[in-house]
């Protein structure tokens, strides 16, 4: 591996339809090539992942008559991590008279993303959102209803209209259950073959296009090749690279990273959203951080002791010695500043030594004043379930003492780079949902992640994948023993054997924890050049140590979770290096990417629109050298402007 990275002159074309961005999607849909229904069953599509994007794409393509093979490492499609989303799903259906519209949505999302996402794609999100709600409610998601029978909405995350559709605090779960049912319906019809407990470990590229994947059956250990005319990756985000994150413990980047190593460019890997109201890490054994709904900030006040190292219990600290730093710094938005700003402010307080809790790594979220003003009953009615969950996790009573919260790695805006049609830089390889990178720019708005996964899965990929397949009618799938397939198979087998036989001393989890510490410190909520350079060295060292000292043990021919974890951590280590490189490379602050060197006089994020109105799409050469390609961004509907929450 070399130090440093290079920048290529290559400007990427995202194939955005020319002309008025608002009508772009309609025009593109009209242009897409179609496949005769009789030919469809001869065309095979592999879909990896069964979350909202994967289950949707697999079910919709199966319905259309294509031969679909769908893969998940879970035991059941319903377990995909879309299931854990709480708040809701945005859709500018604009039925109310609150001034919502497709344009308003685009403005919110583009601005919220700090002008680092693709505007035309956001227009598609907004346009198709209407059908997403219709479809999901039809296939069984019991959206909350008004007493008059209409869909209920609420407002969410710094948006001034009410466009978030929800099912209590379990929207992701309900959408995920509905989507996996739709997928299972196709399995029953025979149009989709579902492979559970099958993990994708490599991509097969032949003749310059994606033609298959290599998987390991997690139960039997069998490594095999599956070939197809197109491959869709809907394998989610990589926030769990930080070890402690709000993601599931098995969420990983292996599928996307392996695709990247086979040539798919990776867009803005350093764009990671930290959720301000996660629960802090409170013990060395803790396996992840739990997310508390953002809605708590509506009534809770966030503060830290004014004096660093204050040892007193929260309730013993007098009002005068409390610093309500969000209210102080952002009087206009106060405790409701957007996620990135709130997380950064909390991080600054913790770094300055004013953090609270046994590990001094959290801030208070206090309901004392709200309880005094509204009464305990009202607070219980609004947040009772969240308070119970908090007590459940921490053993503390938030009615009596303030909650302790801390920023937690949550959503990755970065991911595989794709064009407007969701096709990556490897022809025939498509991406959907959080695994991709086109919609959210440098910061995602609340309730937009379920939407982007659903739009990709149900209403984009089922149109754009056939457009690609139309050119392959009459072409057979790659032979399973083609040289490219055998090479990929061999690579996976070698790596698996290496991991199993390495005579090291440390569990994969040890490296994962250590990687998390390095990234948190150097490439977390805020980043500095010195910190990033140090992190880069440490990550590279840790990567080398991993291959020298990891210990997996056990056998490869049966369930071996240690082996699964080892492969995932190995990929995280490589990805982390690229994240740090990207963060170093992007010499500006934008959205969730905050470089301490690039701030206003007041310490706020300072974008550099001269140089950085673009997407960094990274290539990693076979020897591990990083090359940045650039996709310039243009904004026609939303003029460039500075976010200001003061």
């Amino acid at each position: 591996m070399t130090h440093g990275w290079t920048v290529s002159d290559r400007l990427l074309d995202a194939h955005v339809p020319a002309g008025d961005p608002l009508g772009a999607w309609d025009r593109r849909r009209a242009e897409y090539r179609l496949v005769n229904p009789a030919n469809r069953r001869h065309l095979k599509v592999i879909v990896v992942g069964t979350g909202l994007a994967g289950a949707g794409a697999a079910a919709a393509l199966g319905e259309l008559g294509y031969q679909v093979a769908c893969f998940t490492f879970h035991d059941a499609p319903r377990r995909a991590h879309s299931v854990a989303a709480q708040g809701g799903i945005n859709a500018p259906r604009a039925r109310k008279v609150d001034g919502d519209s497709v344009r308003r949505f685009v403005t919110d999302a583009v601005k919220g993303g700090d002008f680092r996402g693709r505007e035309a794609d956001v227009v598609r999100l907004a346009t198709e959102s209407v059908r997403v709600i219709d479809h999901l409610q039809a296939i069984g998601a019991p959206f909350a209803r008004e007493y008059g029978g209409q869909l209920a909405t609420r407002s969410f995350g710094g948006v001034q209209v009410s466009r978030t559709y929800y099912t209590r605090g379990q929207t992701g779960q309900q959408l995920q259950v509905a989507a996996s049912q739709a997928l299972l319906r196709q399995v029953q019809r025979g149009s989709v073959r579902l492979h559970t407990r099958a993990e994708m470990l490599d991509l097969v590229v032949a003749d310059g296009r994606a033609q298959g994947i290599v998987t390991r059956d997690l139960v039997s250990g069998a490594i095999g090749v599956h070939t197809a005319h197109a491959v869709v990756l809907a394998t989610g985000g990589y926030g769990s690279v930080y070890f402690h994150s709000t993601l599931a413990v098995n969420s990983n980047a292996t599928a996307t990273w392996r695709a990247h190593r086979r040539g798919a460019l990776f867009g803005c890997p350093s764009f990671v959203q930290f959720h301000p109201t996660a629960l802090p890490v409170s013990s060395p054994w803790q396996s992840k951080t739990t997310l508390m709904s953002e809605s708590l900030r509506n009534d809770g006040r966030i503060w830290v002791p004014a004096n660093p190292g204050d040892e007193r219990a929260a309730n013993d600290i007098p009002e005068a010695e409390r610093d309500y730093y969000l209210e102080r710094r952002y009087p206009a938005y106060g405790n409701l500043t957007p996620r990135d700003v709130a997380s950064r402010a909390a991080r600054a307080e913790i770094v300055a030594g004013r953090g609270v809790g046994p590990l001094r790594n959290s801030v208070y979220l206090d309901f004392r004043d709200a309880i005094a003003r509204l009464g305990r009953d009202t607070i219980a009615e609004r947040y009772g379930n969240l308070f119970a969950m908090y007590t459940d996790v921490t053993g503390e009573d938030p009615y009596v003492e303030p909650m302790r919260i801390a920023p937690g790695a949550h959503f990755t805006m970065g991911g595989l780079w794709s064009d407007y049609d969701q096709m990556t830089s490897v022809p025939g390889l498509f991406v959907g949902g959080e695994a991709g990178s086109n919609y959210h720019g440098a910061n995602r708005l609340g309730a937009n992640s379920l939407l982007s996964a659903c739009v990709d899965g149900w209403f984009t990929l089922p149109l754009s994948v056939p457009n690609w397949l139309a050119g392959l009618v009459g072409t057979p799938t790659l032979e399973q023993d083609a040289p490219e397939a055998l090479e990929a198979l061999e690579t996976v087998a070698r790596r698996t054997t290496h991991l199993l036989e390495n005579e090291g001393t440390r569990r994969p989890t040890w490296f994962h924890r250590r990687l998390g510490e390095i990234l948190d410190e150097g490439c977390g909520v805020s980043r500095s050049e010195a910190g990033l350079r140090a992190a880069l060295e440490q990550v590279r060292q840790l990567g080398a140590d991993f291959w020298a000292d990891v210990r997996v043990g056990g056998r490869g021919d049966r369930l071996n979770q240690e082996l699964e974890r080892a492969g995932r951590v190995a990929d995280f280590l490589e990805l982390a290096e690229l994240m740090v490189v990207d963060a170093l490379d992007r010499t500006e602050s934008c959205g969730a990417h905050f470089r301490e060197e690039f701030t206003t006089e007041l310490g706020e994020a300072l974008r550099d629109d001269e140089r950085w109105v673009n997407v960094s799409a990274w290539e990693t050469t076979p020897v591990g050298k990083h090359i940045r390609h650039t996709e310039p961004l243009a904004f026609e509907l939303v003029p460039l402007q500075v976010r200001d929450y003061r």
């Binding site: 029953q188 579902l194 407990r197 139960v219 039997s220």
Partner: protein
Amino acid sequence: MVQDMTALREGQRTRATAPFPSTFALKLVMAVTGVIFIAFVFVHMIGNLKVYGGPASLDSYAQWLREVGYPLIPHKGVLWALRVTLLVSLVAHVGASVILWARGRRARGRFRRRRSSGVTAWAARTMLLGGVLILGFLVIHLLDLTIGRAVAPGAYQPADADGTIHAYTNLVASFSRPWMAAVYVVWMLVIAVHIWHGWRTMAQDLGATGHRLRAVWATLGALIALAIVLGNALIPILVQLGVIA
């Protein structure tokens, strides 16, 4: 088997086809025959209350049972119709329960559930044993007061040639034996538990999902069980106390 599991996971095959007769149908049989038994036991209990009216009251009731509907229906016609219905129900109820029990064991597999979480689960666990006990008591009861053999009291008087029945005398003779009185009281308690849980399960098996219906149903079940225990078990106790003689 590993290959089998992969095939199962990938939907290449399913483990089995639905059994015949279907569990759903067997549960319905249990529920319907259960209703018949509860109705029978309840009506029987009401008949038993005639004992408080003295010998003539009970004996004439027994007599009436044999003549009801005459001349449209032959002598003992209704009685035998009831007996046949009950017998068929009994066979169906017991048969279905045995099949269901076997299916439950097979579905659970090698590792039995060892812990029970409350009174409902306890009542459910007693159902099989309770059923066997009830059946045993029934045999004793028929021998004792209907057939008049084996466990019947020494003073048992069969029906006269003209059809006169000595129900009251036989009942008092039987219940005067403390051990037999105790058997009947225990029997009633077992029946009460069986009915209480059976009644609850019946609501489930007949698909009662409404909150009010379920609440009313539960109350009704408890009342019926209570009425049967009180109405029936009091008789041997009162005989023992000498109130009925």
